[in-house]
């Protein structure tokens, strides 16, 4: 049993990425940060990640689903949260099918933290 849950944050905006990481670290999580899907995949391969916090739209036509798919190949039950400024209906529906909560920016931090702790507690019970 780990003392700290490990969260991977993926966002192509460096300042956003930094602030999320700081907030989550402040909340006592172990945090890895990735600026691109490629970095994210590296981190996922290298580290043991408990939860994925991923921006939907990433650089180079890639999106959060690609990262989540990659992670779930390794761990099919990997909890994930999608963050987005704007999501198409298809994206929304797709997230719903995969059981992934979608949070819209500007994100209410309390809501974000509640969602994360909720997912992690469920994951721990499994």
């Amino acid at each position: 049993m780990k003392s700290k849950s490990h969260i991977l944050v993926v966002d192509d905006e460096p300042n956003v990425l930094v602030t999320y990481r700081l907030i989550l670290q402040q909340q006592g999580y172990a945090v890895s940060a990735a600026l691109s899907s490629e970095e994210a995949r590296k981190a996922l391969s290298r580290e043991d990640i408990d939860l994925l916090l991923c921006d939907l739209s990433l650089e180079k036509q890639e999106n959060g689903f690609d990262v989540i798919d990659f992670a779930r190949k390794k761990d099919p039950h990997m909890p994930a949260v999608l963050l987005t400024g704007y999501a198409t209906q298809e994206a929304n529906d797709h997230a719903g099918e995969l059981g992934i909560p979608v949070l819209f920016k500007p994100i209410d931090i309390k809501e974000l933290l509640e969602t994360i702790s909720g997912l992690l507690s469920v994951g721990r019970e499994l």
Partner: protein
């Protein structure tokens, strides 16, 4: 009347001796049938053996002996003859009217003297004299001008039938011509007396006849139920029938009222007679008399004609009064009815004129057809479309065919009214024109179709207007969408920096120096405001999908449920009136956003609590699409007029820092995107009503 003195003549033969005695004897006879026996006696007294008299019956033309002296019976019968037996001396002499002596064949008699008698006078009778210049049969006979025939032996003046007879005397032998002359004078004298007696008897007969006629006339008069009155030239009553007495004769049981009535009637009647006499010939006039017995007023029509004597003198008036009370009443009623009819006709005529004026000024083509769908009436505009007999072109005929098909179908259909789009071609421009044909039926009293009326409304202008409206709306929607996209894009770009700032502020919580606290609070509040704006702008960008049928009532319920706690806390009482509705077409999310905005605005306007009413209703109008109306009404502070003008523009807010100024702009945009309508009514201090209309799904 002529006096007898004037008729004295002095040419009477001087009678002497025996002749004088005979003349006096004859003169003593008072009846015509007494003359002949006396004459025969006097002839025999002259010394002649015997004599007889035969008479002509004009009706049978027979000659019959009527008196004889000393003749044996069988001999008398030998003189019975007929007017046509001209070979006998008797008949020949009758026809010639010349006395003749026929010598005897035997010794016993020397001969027979035939003397014809006929009604004759030297001078005309009084009646003939009065008739002046007309022929009197007596005078004519005196001059022997007439034939012995029935039709000629009746007087044209006094109507008297003449007599004709023959005195046949067997003359004594040896009679001298002087003695024959004596005989002749005697017979002539007798004939003169006879003629006078005949005339007198004729007068007597006439008098008897007249009495009979008078009696008959009186019976006729009495039997008439209408009053008949004969008056003299002074309008005094000569005679009247019973019916007239009722009105004009003073009754015996004299009551004052009846006397007055009769006097009044008489007065009225003679006044009417006088005026009629003045006015001239036959005339009639109406007269109201009082029934002396019943006391009723009776309306009479008096017809009066003057009566004249044979010589043309006016002898008075004959008046017949006809009771026309009922007739006049019927006449008046008839007149009144006629007047009513005339007025009704006038009303109908005015109505028709008015209707014609209306038809002429409607400006749309109007076609009236009969029960067989054949054209009965066209207004000038319809005439232009369908042409007239002479000016008909193929286009006119085509229009007619199209219209015929429609009207025939309508005439035989079961509907009273119908409207249908019809495409005709303008014969002037050759362009197709779309018409809205509206038809109605006129029924006869049996409930069968008598006529159909079709009004063609030219939809060109309407269509053009609709097109313009549509284009304008498309443009507005395009603008709105573009603005939305721009807003969304900007929001998206602003979103990430916002995210970082917001996260930083969160990280700085509780890490500020106490004096920087207020600054930190401002930073936090303003950042949150920007975040709200960005969120709303993104919402606009986000909520464009999920269009379909949805239930407006559920959306209303959802929205109210979402805000139930907030409203309750604000002291707002909610009233819901939701009708059964068909589904609406559009995005439920967007409508929820609209209702949320309106409910929040309403709540904000009722700081001290109030009533929020939400109503839904289906609006149906013939020929138009069904609409769903949603009303959001509050009893809040209301919206001032200058705000009403600009409230749907973006970034207009009355809420200061709490508002984004985008709510109503978005509301309007969404409703217009749905092809709906948004109206607002508001009174400051009273409240605000928003009414939304959305098209129902078809």
């Amino acid at each position: 009347m002529a006096s007898p003195q004037m008729r004295v003549r002095s040419d009477t033969p001087d009678l002497t001796g025996r002749n004088r005695r005979s003349a006096l004897r004859l003169l003593g006879m008072e009846r015509s049938d007494e003359i002949f026996p006396v004459l025969l006696e006097e002839i025999v007294a002259l010394g002649h053996p015997r004599a007889l008299v035969t008479r002509v019956d004009f009706e049978t033309s027979e000659i019959t002996p009527i008196a004889s002296l000393n003749y044996p019976k069988n001999l008398v019968q030998r003189y019975r003859s007929s007017l046509f037996a001209v070979e006998t001396p008797q008949v020949r002499i009758l026809h010639s009217q010349e006395p003749e002596f026929v010598a005897g064949r035997g010794k016993k008699s020397s001969g027979t003297y035939y003397y014809p008698l006929i009604y004759r006078n030297r001078t005309a009778c009084w009646e003939a004299e009065r008739a002046r210049g007309r022929k009197c049969v007596a005078v004519e006979n005196f001059h022997c001008r007439l034939k012995l025939q029935l039709q000629e032996q009746v007087c044209g003046i006094c109507d008297m039938r003449a007599y004709s007879a023959m005195v046949i005397t067997e003359v004594a032998p040896g009679t001298t011509p002087a003695e024959i002359g004596e005989l002749r004078a005697l017979i002539e004298l007798a004939n003169r007396y006879l003629s006078r007696l005949f005339k007198v008897e004729h007068y007597h007969n006439r008098m008897v006849d007249m009495e009979t006629i008078i009696t008959q006339m009186q019976t006729v008069m009495e039997s008439m139920t209408d009053p008949v009155i004969l008056t003299d030239p002074q309008h005094r009553v000569i005679t009247q029938n019973k019916a007239a007495e009722r009105y004009f004769r003073l009754p015996e049981d004299v009551s004052e009222g009846r006397v007055r009535a009769v006097e009044l009637n008489n007065l009225l009647f003679s006044a009417a007679l006088s005026s009629m006499a003045v006015s001239g010939n036959d005339s009639s006039r109406d007269m109201t008399l009082v029934d002396a017995i019943e006391g009723d007023e009776v309306l009479f029509e008096a017809v009066s004609a003057p009566s004249f004597a044979p010589d043309g003198r006016r002898t008075g008036m004959v008046s017949v009064l006809r009771d026309v009370t009922d007739l006049r009443r019927a006449d008046e009623e008839l007149r009144a009815n006629y007047e009513k009819l005339r007025q009704a006709e006038e009303v109908v005529r005015q109505d028709r004129d008015r209707l014609n004026l209306v038809i002429e000024n409607v400006g749309d083509p109007i076609v009236v057809c009969d029960r067989d769908a054949k054209v009965a009436l066209l207004d000038p505009r319809a005439q232009e479309l369908l042409g007239s007999e002479k000016t008909r072109t193929p286009l006119h005929i085509r229009n007619q065919a199209i219209l015929d098909a429609y009207i025939t179908q309508f005439t035989y259909s079961f509907s009273d009214r119908e409207s249908a789009p019809i495409q005709l071609t303008s014969p002037e421009t050759g362009l197709d024109v779309e018409y809205d044909a509206r038809s109605g039926k006129i029924y006869d009293e049996r409930g069968l179709v008598a006529y159909t009326v079709t009004v063609l409304r030219d939809l060109t202008a309407v269509r053009r207007l609709e097109q313009m409206k549509l284009e304008r709306r498309m443009l507005e929607m395009e603008k709105f969408a573009a603005a939305g996209r721009l807003a969304g894009t900007i929001a998206h770009e602003v979103n990430n920096p916002m995210e970082a700032i917001k996260n930083c502020i969160f990280l700085l919580t509780d890490q500020m120096k106490p004096e920087a606290g207020p600054v930190y609070d401002i930073l936090k509040a303003e950042t949150e405001r920007v975040a709200r704006i960005v969120r709303q702008m993104l919402g606009l960008y986000r909520n464009t999908e999920q269009v379909g049928n949805f239930d407006v009532n559920s959306v209303v319920e959802d929205t109210l449920l979402l805000f139930a706690r907030q409203l309750d806390r604000a002291g707002v009482h909610v009233k819901k009136e939701l009708s059964v509705l068909p589904p609406a077409l559009g995005s439920a999310d967007q409508i929820r956003q609209v209702l949320s905005n309106l409910v929040v605005n309403a709540k904000d306007s009722m700081s001290g609590g109030g009533i929020l009413a939400l109503r839904t209703r289906l609006i149906r109008a013939p020929g138009l699409r069904d609409m769903i109306r949603i009303v959001v009404a509050d009893s809040g502070s209301g919206i001032s007029e200058h705000v009403l003008d600009t409230m749907f523009e973006p970034f207009m807010t009355t809420k200061g820092e709490r508002g984004t100024g985008l709510g109503l702009w978005i509301v309007k945009g969404i409703i217009e995107n749905h092809g709906g309508k948004l109206r607002v009514r508001s009174r400051v201090g009273k409240g605000t009503v928003f009414a939304i209309e959305l098209p129902a799904a078809q």
